[in-house]
């Protein structure tokens, strides 16, 4: 990273974030023990220092961009960057994408940082007085500082994951502060509602982030915006499927907008914000008006490059924003609670902002964020000041106010100025920013951007004009009802005053300086910051737009498109007219006529009035569609948990444990003799362990090399008979390990090792030898034994006429090994599950010295799967001979012990105890030594591998090894193990055995 600007400003960025965080930490840990003065000093001091640093960084940025403008290097030198540390990295495809904790202050985030720290500082100051009475003073400032830090992370993050940390952080603080007075269940519920609704939006942000990183291969905002053109591809569902009508960019934009709608309270996720007024008023001003709720707008502006890739998504955002603006304004018309009106007003103004960015007026929409922060914060703080004056807790009812102007002049004047600003009275800040948005809508309506639907511009323009009219009306209704006329302080006031005996004022009073000073500063801002964004079409300098230029993507306008004076005049004229009209109507109805006309209108339209009072009954709709099914599901789950898990499982297991415990406690008699008796049992075990040797022979196989190792023990001596021929190769010694090396003459039995070669599946080895029963099924061997290339081979071998039986569900080895491995009984009996007659007949033939035996048709354990197997072996001069059902013969050495296997494709493998094996493909495709087997019978040498389908048949042999162990007392114990050794493949054929390479 380039630190050409000097390390101090990079560090300063970090401290801007860290200071409020430290303040939160200190106050959170020790605030409850500290005095209010100290808590206040820490909270305000940390934010104040942060604001000072932000100002310094801003000044540096201004000087830098001044130089840059002179040098013409706009792109590279208009930001301050600080990489704090590398966080983690993500692998997407082949690319490793680093995620850094990196802070970035460019022209966009600089403005937001100033707003957050500056207005945050004012509101901290205000709250230090407003919350004076609250017992949880330190907790409040902990949350407020934490919020400031989170919000700063959100705007200063240079990449999406870090931004998301801030995004979640502000959501958490919002939840904590809405539910600050959690003793009241309604407030706590409001907090939870905000949190859960925001979760839905966060889900969208995450999905959008994943889509962006998957497509642009970066988390950094700058790189995402730069690579935004790569988003213009159809949305991929997986490797092969795409959605033709939806580009990745549009999908990402819509997902991100879902998040913005949650955070910034747009339709349909706006429902949490009106309820969020349950929090203390400074919180409403800071979080739910000035900063957090504008995070969505900030994100859209931040990713303007991405949003420009999708005119459709932008049009959608504009329409949602305009609808929200209109919708919320209509609700605000009839509300009676001061903060409720302001809350719906906030939702409505946020709608304005989204409509602005949606029609491409990014600078305009963001300008409204900026001006709105001033006048809405001022309005909320003014409302708080009023509530403070009348000791209203939670909210103030307009019907119980009136005439406040004579009690609190400062509050009245600042409130009035802010009302003018929000109503768009000419030359106030709201006038200019709202004009920018209207102008943007009108401009896009003239069709300068070919891909953008023109009609959206005019529809949005019309809706916003109506909304602006309503805004002016309801704001001044609020003002007139609260501040003009006579004080109607009534029941509620008396009730609330009861809890504040120490104040004891009968009359409302002006707030202390710590509350009025922020009001004055904010009102000044509300009045005058608008001059930063003077209309360009009048030839006036628009400082705001010029400043944001490097941070915002340029609209792909048609050649020569520009804002004509006619358009500008239209927008400004309409804006002025509706603003003045709304103010005038409110004046006529509520000052001249004392509110009789609106009451009459409401009386004549009772249903509309009720609908508006109930906020269009959206909450009720949610309750019906979402909450009730959820609640039903939750009840079901709870009952399931109660009945099944708790009762059946938990009770059963716990009673088992109880019973076991009861049993064990029977031994706990407390009598020493009982304990002694138990000790004796343990002692007997120890004595047995030390007196009787324990060979514990283990082995490690490597080809025909077997490392044999016996267990160690006190004073043990060992001698080994590695090939179990009765002669010990090693003398008695303390050496407990020995290497055995086996020749074919040592082999005592044949074995077949089956290994599946399925990619991704763990290799499975199944060893068939010495008489242990084992049932095989498809899961043991893998489906390739059934559906491998062998199927084709079988069909080919059958001349293409025989139908391929691919319906065989599993390999037919559902027979126990004792049927596969048939040791010859010395007297000629047949030791497998042939029928009695067959066995007797076979025994006769062997006894009579015949050298050839007919096939024994063994009955499988499973009737429908008759396994064609047979094996016989001769003894005492009789050679073994087996005739399999297909008419082929297998010869054995004398006294041989064999293992026979048959696969679903009819492949026979017969392992002899010489370590060799006989393989019969029986028409299936089998590869040995790299070549397909064509002969009806092939001899496999020890260690050779045949490939059947995707499975390997490895010929192995069984050897035995014995160890004798004696201990110091002369006790001797022996132990014998059977070891399956797999001889190395003959070297000359190693390469040809290609399939083995997959292991």
């Amino acid at each position: 990273m380039d630190f050409a600007f000097g390390w101090d400003f990079g560090r300063a960025l970090m401290w801007i974030v860290l200071l409020p965080l430290l303040g939160a930490l200190v106050n959170g840990i020790s605030g409850r023990y500290a005095s209010r003065g100290l808590v206040r000093a820490i909270a305000i001091g940390s934010v104040g220092l942060s604001f000072a640093l932000a100002l310094a960084c801003f000044a540096k940025l201004v000087s830098l961009s001044g130089h840059a403008a002179a040098d013409g290097e706009v792109e590279a030198t208009t930001k301050l960057v600080n990489v704090v540390y590398d966080w983690f990295s993500v692998r997407v495809g082949d690319a490793v994408i680093p995620v850094r904790v990196a802070l970035l202050m460019d022209h966009l985030s600089a403005v937001m940082t100033l707003v957050i720290t500056g207005i945050g500082l004012l509101i901290h100051l205000y709250a230090s007085s407003y919350m004076e009475e609250d017992p949880s003073y330190a907790r409040f400032f902990t949350y407020l500082n934490l919020f400031t830090a989170s919000m700063l992370i959100l705007v200063l993050a240079s990449n999406m994951p870090l931004m998301f940390v801030g995004w979640e952080g502000v959501g958490l603080c919002s939840y904590l502060l809405i539910g600050f007075w959690w003793e009241n269940p309604t407030y706590a519920a409001a907090g939870k509602k905000a949190f859960i609704v925001n979760r839905i939006g966060d889900f969208g942000v995450l999905l959008g982030m994943f889509l962006l990183v998957a497509t642009t291969a970066s988390f950094e905002f700058a790189e995402i915006n730069a690579n935004a053109s790569s988003l213009a591809i159809p949305l991929k569902l997986d490797q092969t499927h795409t959605i033709a009508f939806l580009t990745t960019g549009t999908a990402a934009c819509l997902f991100l907008f879902l998040g913005c709608a949650g955070k910034s309270a747009q339709l349909p996720l706006y429902v949490w914000l009106p309820d969020a007024m349950a929090g203390p008023t400074p919180v409403s001003a800071l979080i739910h008006a000035a900063t957090m709720v504008t995070a969505g707008v900030y994100l859209v502006v931040r990713l303007s490059g991405v949003f420009l890739m999708s005119p459709g998504a932008m049009a959608f955002i504009a329409l949602v924003g305009a609808t929200t603006a209109l919708f919320a304004a209509s609700i605000a018309l009839v509300q009676n609670q001061m903060k409720k009106i302001l809350a719906y007003s906030t939702v409505s103004q946020l709608g304005f902002m989204f409509a602005g960015v949606g029609v491409g007026a990014f600078a305009g929409g963001f300008f409204h964020v900026f001006t709105h922060a001033f006048f809405k914060a001022c309005l909320f703080l003014g409302a708080g000041s009023v509530m403070h004056a009348v000791h209203a807790h939670g909210d103030a009812d307009l019907r119980e106010l009136g005439g406040m102007k004579k009690f609190m002049p400062v509050t009245r004047w600042t409130f009035l100025l802010s009302c003018f600003a929000i109503a768009g009275f000419p030359l106030t800040s709201g006038f200019f920013s709202k004009d920018d948005i209207l102008l943007g809508a009108a401009f896009i309506g003239t069709g300068p951007w070919a891909d953008y639907p023109r009609w959206v511009g005019w529809v949005v323009f019309a809706m916003l004009a109506v909304a602006a009219f309503m805004t002016a009306f309801y704001m001044f209704r609020l003002y007139f009802l609260a501040f003009e006329g006579e004080f109607r302080g009534g029941q509620g006031h008396a009730d609330h005053a009861h809890g504040h005996d120490d104040h004891g004022h009968a009359e409302p009073h002006e707030s202390p300086w710590a509350m009025t000073l922020p009001l004055v500063v904010l009102a000044a801002g509300a009045g005058f910051v608008g001059f930063l964004g003077l209309p360009h079409w009048l030839g006036l300098p628009n400082v705001w737009e010029h400043w944001l230029e490097p941070s915002i993507a340029r609209l792909p306008l048609a050649e020569g498109a520009h804002v004509s004076a006619a358009i500008g005049a239209t927008a400004m004229g309409v804006g002025t007219l509706v603003g003045l009209g709304g103010i005038g109507l409110a004046y006529v109805w509520y000052v001249k006529e004392d509110g009789s006309t609106p009451a009459r209108i409401a009386a004549s339209l009772p249903r509309l009035q009720a609908l508006l009072m109930d906020k269009w009954r959206v909450d009720e709709l949610y309750a019906l569609v979402l909450i009730r099914p959820m609640a039903w599901l939750a009840r079901f789950a709870a009952n399931f948990d109660k009945l099944f898990i708790d009762t059946l499982l938990t009770k059963a297991t716990s009673s088992l444990a109880l019973a076991a415990g009861w049993l064990v406690t029977r031994v706990q008699t407390g009598a020493v003799s009982m304990y002694g008796a138990v000790m004796v049992v343990g002692l007997a075990g120890i004595v047995w362990w030390f007196v009787v040797p324990h060979p514990g022979l283990q082995h490690v196989v490597r080809g025909t090399q077997v490392k044999l190792q016996a267990a160690s023990g006190l004073g043990y001596e060992y001698r080994f008979d590695t090939n179990a021929d009765g002669e010990f190769e090693t003398p008695w010694s303390a050496e407990r390990a020995v290497d055995g090396n086996y020749q074919p003459s040592d082999f005592r039995g044949g074995a077949i090792v089956l290994t599946t070669l399925r990619p991704g599946q763990r290799d499975r080895e199944i060893v068939l030898h010495g008489g242990e029963p084992h049932a095989f099924d498809a899961a043991d061997l893998g489906p390739d034994w059934v559906r491998g290339p062998a199927a084709d081979g079988a069909a080919a071998a059958a001349g293409g006429t025989a139908p391929v039986d691919d319906t065989v569900p599993a390999i037919r080895w559902t027979v126990p090994v004792r049927d596969l491995f048939l040791p010859f009984a010395p007297r000629g009996g047949l030791a497998h599950s042939a029928t009695l007659e067959e066995a007797e007949s076979l025994a006769e033939r062997i006894a009579s010295g015949e050298s050839t035996v007919e096939i024994a048709r063994a009955r499988a354990t499973n009737d429908e799967e008759r396994t064609r197997l047979g094996a016989m072996a001769g003894e005492d001069g009789v050679d073994g001979h087996v005739k399999l059902a297909d008419g082929t013969d297998v010869h054995f050495e004398r006294g041989a012990r064999v293992a026979v296997a048959e696969t679903a494709r009819g492949v026979h493998v017969v392992a002899l105890d010489s370590g060799e094996a006989i393989l019969r493909p029986n028409g299936a495709r089998v590869r040995v030594r790299g070549a397909e087997v064509t002969e009806p019978e092939t001899r496999l040498r020890p260690g050779e591998v045949a490939q059947v389908g995707n499975a390997l048949v490895r010929v192995a042999a069984v050897v035995s090894a014995t160890v004798e162990v004696r201990n110091a007392f002369g006790y001797t114990v022996d132990d014998t193990v059977d070891v399956v050794v797999q001889p190395e493949r003959p070297a000359t054929e190693a390469r040809a055995d290609a399939p083995g390479g997959a292991r």
Binding site: T669, G670, A671, V672, S673
Partner: protein, 102 residues
């Protein structure tokens, strides 16, 4: 017949067995303590005997020496407990002391 180590260890195991059986079967705490002494002595015998067959050092005898010291300490503490128990229960039966049951 020459003496072998087996003779000594065999004798020691018999003595240990007698001590153990005494400890297990008798209920008189005093006798049980004496049985413990018997077992300790049996162990000492094996230590000394094995040392005799590995005379390169004195490890076995040194261990036996320490065992004797520990046995003395054990007898002192054990008998003190017996006196204490007797004062409480007016009995020296080990079964009478079972308050640690649960």
């Amino acid at each position: 017949m020459d003496l072998s180590l087996g003779h000594f260890i065999g004798l020691a195991s018999v003595l240990f067995g007698i001590g153990a059986i005494g400890f297990l079967v008798r209920r008189n705490v005093l006798i049980q303590l004496m049985s413990i002494e018997l077992m300790l002595n049996a162990v000492n015998l094996t230590l000394v005997a094995i040392n005799r067959w590995m005379p390169g050092n004195h490890a076995g005898q040194v261990f036996a020496f320490f065992n004797i010291a520990i046995a003395a300490a054990e007898a002192a503490v054990g008998l003190a407990i017996v006196i204490s128990v007797y004062r409480l229960k007016k009995s020296v039966q080990s079964d009478s002391v079972d308050l640690l049951k649960h």
